[in-house]
């Protein structure tokens, strides 16, 4: 079969989104102070992580900030080898989901351990981190 013919489009579209965080700014500021916050609905008492400004469970928008202790246990995990384009410069990373002692679960990178040593049920701690390029994030570390 002949090689299919195509035109290389002359129009390139590059998209960088601005991510609004006004209503959850305490969470992002907290990360820079080494704290991981969730929100608690003042009406139904539901603890939300990731944090929300509005409670989808009861419809109330008056939530309070609750600092998480961070202690948790691995529920499941993976290691990403084939990465998306925007993560191409990162070394292969482990992503884990852990249940925190407060009852909510979180998804984040698990660092400081080889995948071969990770087990479902393993104890970890969710900690705030600021990356070398100044980005606020959070990750699990083994305890």
């Amino acid at each position: 079969m002949d090689k299919p013919l195509s035109l290389k489009s002359a129009r390139t579209l590059q998209i960088t989104y601005n991510l609004p965080i006004s209503r959850t700014s305490k969470f992002w500021e907290g990360l820079k102070e080494g704290k991981v916050y969730a929100t608690t609905c003042q009406k139904c008492g539901m603890l939300h992580f990731p944090p929300v400004a509005d409670c989808g469970n009861c419809g109330l928008s008056n939530v309070k900030w609750t600092e998480l202790d961070g202690e948790g246990e691995i529920v499941t995990f993976t290691q990403v080898f084939v990465k998306p384009a925007s993560f191409s410069k990162e070394p292969s990373y482990i992503v884990a989901i852990a249940r925190l002692k407060e009852g909510v679960k979180a998804l984040a990178w698990l660092t400081g351990i080889k995948r071969e040593d990770v087990k479902v049920g393993m104890k970890v701690k969710l900690v705030a981190r600021v990356t070398s390029d100044g980005r606020a994030t959070y990750e699990f570390i083994p305890v």
């Binding site: 079969m1 499941t76 993976t78 998306p84 925007s86 989901i97 479902v120």
Partner: protein, 379 residues
């Protein structure tokens, strides 16, 4: 119905690819393009250049003037389009409608495709900082299923081997070569424990079906109609961290129970099924979620050949997403086209499921169980 050849279809553009499915579906239904009052299109379309694919395709295929919509339910966009058109016909608003699925994923590079699909969870909490990929979303399910039920990487490989065997019998499939368990196990790791051959390929393809009311079908003199008995729909949280477990997809459970109830059947009445095997673990979980077996028994079903032709319930005997290919928005429509052929006993004997109740089930998942669609067809 109509169905293009799946694969790398860089030989055609989006509209030309859609035409390959639409034209035969119109010819078989005895309708002309001008007579179609409504078209629902399933397409994600970020990887191809047209932002309004329904309009572009309608113009190219002579459907201009019909009511149009493009439906998004991620990998279940085709089923979402089918549900949209089915609702239009079922309500009496339209006497017929065309359902089309089309996807051209090979116009951009693979890391960018991974980027686009990886964002299809909860972008803010799963992708921005953590770079989840689609294989990774399913890998976390595989890890928990293995930890809880003892499912092994070899079990998962057996799903790929089965689906490639049927893909090799399907001239429209993207991957038409048989593979071995060793080949799967030795392929490169994509998102541990899922390897290259646990994953469906990136595929171009189109499919189309014409829906008509009972009255319209009679008017057209359709000799051998296949009926949509029921469509069940459901969803689950965007954040995976908000789910109870990772050994199944709750949206599949809910959508299937809704469909069984509406059709008045149980899983044992199903003669043949297509399930959403975007990854091998997804097929194992689908057996369990759809009630083909008890929770945790999915791997045993594939080990014992229960889902092969001649087994208790043949599944994905067209190659599935795994070997036939998974052009995102096309898959749901492709399933309906395949099952229509199965119900009419028109496929190659080697991959024809024996018909007892002439009842078929299509299970189509969008995202990682974010959207769930289950359709019951009957002839």
């Amino acid at each position: 119905m109509g169905h293009s050849r799946f694969g790398d279809r860089s030989d055609v553009n989006l509209s030309e690819l859609a035409f390959e499915a639409i034209q035969p579906s119109l010819e078989k239904s005895e309708l002309t393009a001008k007579e179609i009052p409504y078209m629902a299109l399933g397409s994600m379309g970020v990887w191809s250049e047209e932002p309004l694919p329904a309009v572009v395709i309608a113009e190219y295929c002579g459907l201009t003037g019909a009511g149009l919509v493009r439906c998004e339910a991620a990998c279940a966009s085709g089923s979402a389009a089918a549900f949209n058109a089915y609702s239009a016909v079922r309500s009496g608003q339209m006497d017929s409608a065309l359902v089309v699925g089309v996807e051209k994923m090979k116009q951009i590079d693979t890391p960018t495709v991974l980027e686009i699909i990886g964002r299809a969870g909860y972008y803010m909490w799963e992708f921005e900082n953590f770079g989840m990929t689609f294989p990774a979303y399913y890998a976390v399910h595989a890890v928990q299923h293995m930890a809880k039920y003892g499912t092994t990487e070899e079990d998962l490989a057996l799903v790929a081997v089965k689906n490639h065997r049927y893909g090799a019998m399907n001239s429209l499939a993207h991957l038409q070569q048989e593979i071995t368990v060793e080949k799967v196990l030795n392929s490169s790791v994509i998102a541990w424990p899922l390897k290259l051959y646990d994953c469906c390929p990136i595929t171009d393809g189109s499919a189309a079906v014409v829906l008509a009311s009972e009255k319209k079908a009679k008017e057209l003199g359709v000799e051998d109609p296949v009926w949509i008995e029921a469509m069940g729909v459901a969803s689950d949280t965007a954040n995976l961290s908000k789910r109870e477990t990772y050994v199944g997809l709750e949206a599949s459970v809910r959508a299937s129970r809704m469909a069984y109830r509406m059709a008045g059947i149980s899983p044992k009445d199903v003669d043949v099924a297509t399930v959403h095997d975007c990854f091998t673990i997804a097929e194992v979980m689908a057996y369990e979620d759809l009630g083909f077996c008890e929770k945790g028994e999915g791997a045993r079903m594939v080990r014992e050949g229960e889902t092969e032709v001649g087994g208790r319930i043949p599944v994905n005997v067209d190659g599935g997403l795994k070997a036939k290919g998974h052009p995102i928005g096309t898959t749901g429509v492709s399933m309906l086209a395949e099952l229509t052929k199965q119900l009419r006993e028109e496929v190659k004997p080697s991959r024809q499921a024996p018909m007892k109740n002439y009842t078929a089930l299509a299970h189509n998942t969008g995202g990682t169980g974010h959207y769930g669609y289950v359709t019951i067809l009957r002839r």
